[in-house]
């Protein structure tokens, strides 16, 4: 795997890993009475394992100068496998906490296994572990193909993937120990946040260096979305995580902002994590894999320009719709609502651009579960962006906020859109990357598709029902003018829906396990001596006369 590194890169990676091991050691010593020390030990162990991995390949033959005739896909392969590990873990924990709401005794009197600590393991596991790795892995694949050039070096992509997963592991293990900033979707503490900035800068630099080497005068639309994902996530991450640690040997920090400013910053971040992590990046994925798989060009170039800049501009105003009727000044709430409604225009422009791309290929959608994953993803993207704009309207939000409706909405987007487009893209890439004709079992792809769709629909319907019932019960008055239901009454009414939701989640998880097995078997059956296809090479015949 690491034999693709040149001798210099092998040396440099050893230096970096040795330095990180030292940092881990210092953390372990300084924080020996604190979870900080545990994290130091984890950093050390992981870096030492990585050092062994590099040394194992240290005397392997170096890649020659002819490597530039080939795309560099080893990191993408690694990223896809890691993403699949994260999705199984993340979905498992998600379903576990779903069952905890059915039966709260599934905590087993252990702090680490309680709902409040496991929930961020689920959210970070699926969003950052699965989604993030899938985005990074596919972005490496897509940027090389659409620029018709190889990445400039071999070390940077490995640094990005290694560093990113180190961040994810620190995050998830931290939650189990109760290490959290409590900012939703930005829970990791200050030291993990700083490390992520380092990794992210390396990712950005790698992307820009690859773009600079492109043999294609125009930058393809998928790259705009990946670029927006990288840049804006960096902005959001840095501003929202500003904090003062209590010491350099403790995990704990205090947010720089407080109260209303902190709330606005958090939801500016939170909503745009949805926008630029869960939407922009995955649109990049869709803009490459869907047309390639369907064998059709993107329906409209102009529509993609409008939707790209519309999404980039409008989304950033929408965060305050998470704070309707709160202590946030009303003018900010109104702005958030207005822009959320306007956001429907670029969102539906994207969704319809995707679906219209399939015109002329609908017979493929019928026969090919991989393409069907992508089609259903585009449909759910359209549905959940409509729902999002609707829920951002203040009077609708007064009912939906704080209820399971929000949870249902998030999962319509996360399961229906993000996971489906990712599974579709992964099923498309795996045979290309490992040089097999098809997946190990196209039938299992079909099985996964129906499990995922059924799971999503059960989940979302259960949460719509419970959310709306909850919201209505909270505001119902009886004839004497007092509140008709106690809070506990509404909780009891949720029980059947919580069971249904956990079953929907279980189906989706089962699908994820099936996918993991299928991908694993495809890798095993891949013949190592398979001949190269044109997909591996920047096609020389088409090079412009530069």
């Amino acid at each position: 795997m690491l034999a693709g590194l040149t001798r210099n890169e092998r040396d440099l990676s050893l230096v970096i890993l040795a330095a990180l091991t030292l940092v881990g050691l210092l953390m372990a010593i300084a924080g020996r009475n604190d979870p900080f020390g545990v994290h130091g030990a984890i950093v050390m162990v992981i870096c030492i394992l990585a050092i062994f991995a590099v040394i194992a390949n240290y005397y392997a033959p170096e890649p020659g100068e002819d490597r530039f005739d080939r795309y560099y896909d080893e990191p993408t392969k690694f990223g896809i496998v890691v993403a699949m590990i994260w999705v199984v873990v993340g979905l498992f924990v998600g379903d576990w906490v779903a069952w905890q709401l059915v039966n709260p005794n599934l905590t087993f009197d252990a702090g680490w296994a309680s709902f409040g600590r496991l929930r961020p393991v689920h959210t970070s596991g699926v969003i950052f572990g699965f989604g993030g790795n899938a985005l990074i892995a596919t972005s490496f694949y897509v940027m090389q193909r659409t620029c018709r050039t190889r990445m400039p070096d071999q070390l940077s992509p490995w640094f990005v993937l290694f560093g990113y997963n180190l961040f994810c592991i620190i995050a998830a293990s931290g939650y189990l120990m109760g290490v959290t900033q409590s900012k939703e979707y930005a829970e990791p503490e200050w030291y993990a946040d700083i490390w992520l900035v380092v990794v992210w800068v390396a990712y950005f630099v790698l992307y820009m260096r690859t773009l600079a080497r492109r043999k294609e005068p125009h930058i393809y639309v998928a790259n705009w979305y990946y670029l927006a994902f990288i840049l804006v996530v960096a902005m959001l991450h840095i501003v929202n995580n500003l904090a003062v640690p209590i010491s350099l040997s403790s995990v704990k920090s205090y947010s720089l902002f407080s109260g209303v400013q902190d709330a606005m910053t958090e939801w500016w971040y939170g909503h745009n994590a949805v926008a630029f992590f869960l939407t922009s990046g995955f649109l990049g994925m869709m803009y490459y894999y869907m047309p390639v798989r369907a064998g059709r060009p993107i329906f409209s170039y102009r529509l993609s320009i409008i939707s790209f800049w519309g999404i980039t501009f409008f989304y950033m105003w929408a965060g305050s719709h998470h704070l309707h009727y709160t202590a946030l000044p009303q003018w900010v709430q109104t702005l958030g609502m207005t822009f959320s409604v306007m956001l429907l225009v670029p969102s539906w422009a994207s969704a319809s651009n995707a679906l219209l791309t399939l015109n002329g290929a609908w017979h493929k959608v019928r026969d090919d579960a991989t393409l069907r994953f992508m089609m259903v993803a585009a449909v759910f993207y359209g549905l959940s962006t409509f729902e999002g704009s609707f829920m951002a309207i203040r009077s609708v939000n007064s009912l939906s906020h704080y209820t399971d409706w929000t949870v249902g909405h998030v999962h319509a987007g996360a399961l229906g859109w993000v996971a489906m487009i990712t599974f579709g893209s992964i099923y498309a890439s795996v045979p290309w990357l490992w040089k097999t004709k098809t997946m190990y079992s196209p039938k299992l792809v079909e099985v996964h598709f129906w499990l995922a769709l059924a799971g999503t629909i059960i989940y979302v319907f259960a949460m719509w029902n419970s959310g709306i019932i909850q919201g209505l019960m909270w505001r119902t008055y009886n004839e004497s003018g007092t509140l008709a239901y106690s809070f506990v009454d509404s909780l009891v009414a949720m029980h059947p829906y919580y069971i249904a939701r956990a079953i929907g989640g279980l189906l989706f998880l089962t699908g994820g396990v099936v996918a993991f097995y299928n991908i694993w078997m495809t890798i095993r059956m891949a013949a190592s001596a398979a001949s190269e296809t044109p997909r591996d090479r920047p096609v020389p015949a088409l090079q412009p006369a530069e």
Binding site: Q100, L101, V102, P104, N105, S114, F115, G116, R117, T180, Q181, S182, K183, L211, P217, H218, L227, A228, V232, M235, V239, V244, I246, S247, S250, K252, Y254, S258, G259, V260, Q261, D262, M264, T265, W268, R302, T312, F313, M316, W317, S320, H322, L323, Y325, T326, A327, L328, P329, V332, H401, Y402, T406, W474, R475, L483, F487, V488, L491, V492, Y498
Partner: protein, 244 residues
Amino acid sequence: MMTPFGFHYRLERKAIGLVLGIILVASIGGIVEIAPLFTIHQTVEDAPDMRVYTPLELAGRNIYIREGCYACHSQMIRTLRDEVERYGPYSLAVESKYDHPMLWGSKRTGPDLARLGGKYSDEWHVAHLLNPRDVVPESVMPAYAWLARTPLKIDDLGNHLAAMRKVGVPYTDDMIANAKDDAYGQAKPDTPFAEGVTKRYGDATNVRAFGGGTTVTEMDALVAYLQILGRLTDAAHKTAKAGE
């Protein structure tokens, strides 16, 4: 004249151009909505009577954060009739002025806690945290029995207060220097350390054996925090009265 699409046709040939364009376009929303919140005086009301969290309450708040309580409980009563009748006066911005970070929450799997302080006895809270189903049979909240078994870490509370002061909370040198003793004293009313707590944080401060155990545990801290929710200032009640 160049059409917008013609302009874009040129822009997308320049990586740096795209990068700058994205940064510019994406910055506007946040700048317009967030920056004024720090300067406009109306954002946060005045509340001269507002006090800071005691070290024990702050430690309890950190346990609330650590256990992810905010995932199921909000601390933000909206300006809606049913919420005000169910939970109490709607939340004011000033009430979370010293909350680094805020814990407004986004989901009510359990009820809002913004006005929880003083609503139930310490004994109720302890019983509820040990096993919620003993007092609310239908509850789906996890049991937090281990809090009563875990001694509270108090030796670094001075560092916590000092960090809070760096982000703008008016802790005095006296408070920071005595953080550890005050945390102990607030849960141990019969010890000489108890006196300093009311001296530094006001006579209205709860000084009680919250968790009821022999040592100071995490249960003491969490219950102390839950009992102060909504009671750092009277501003919300005053606003509600004035509006009647």
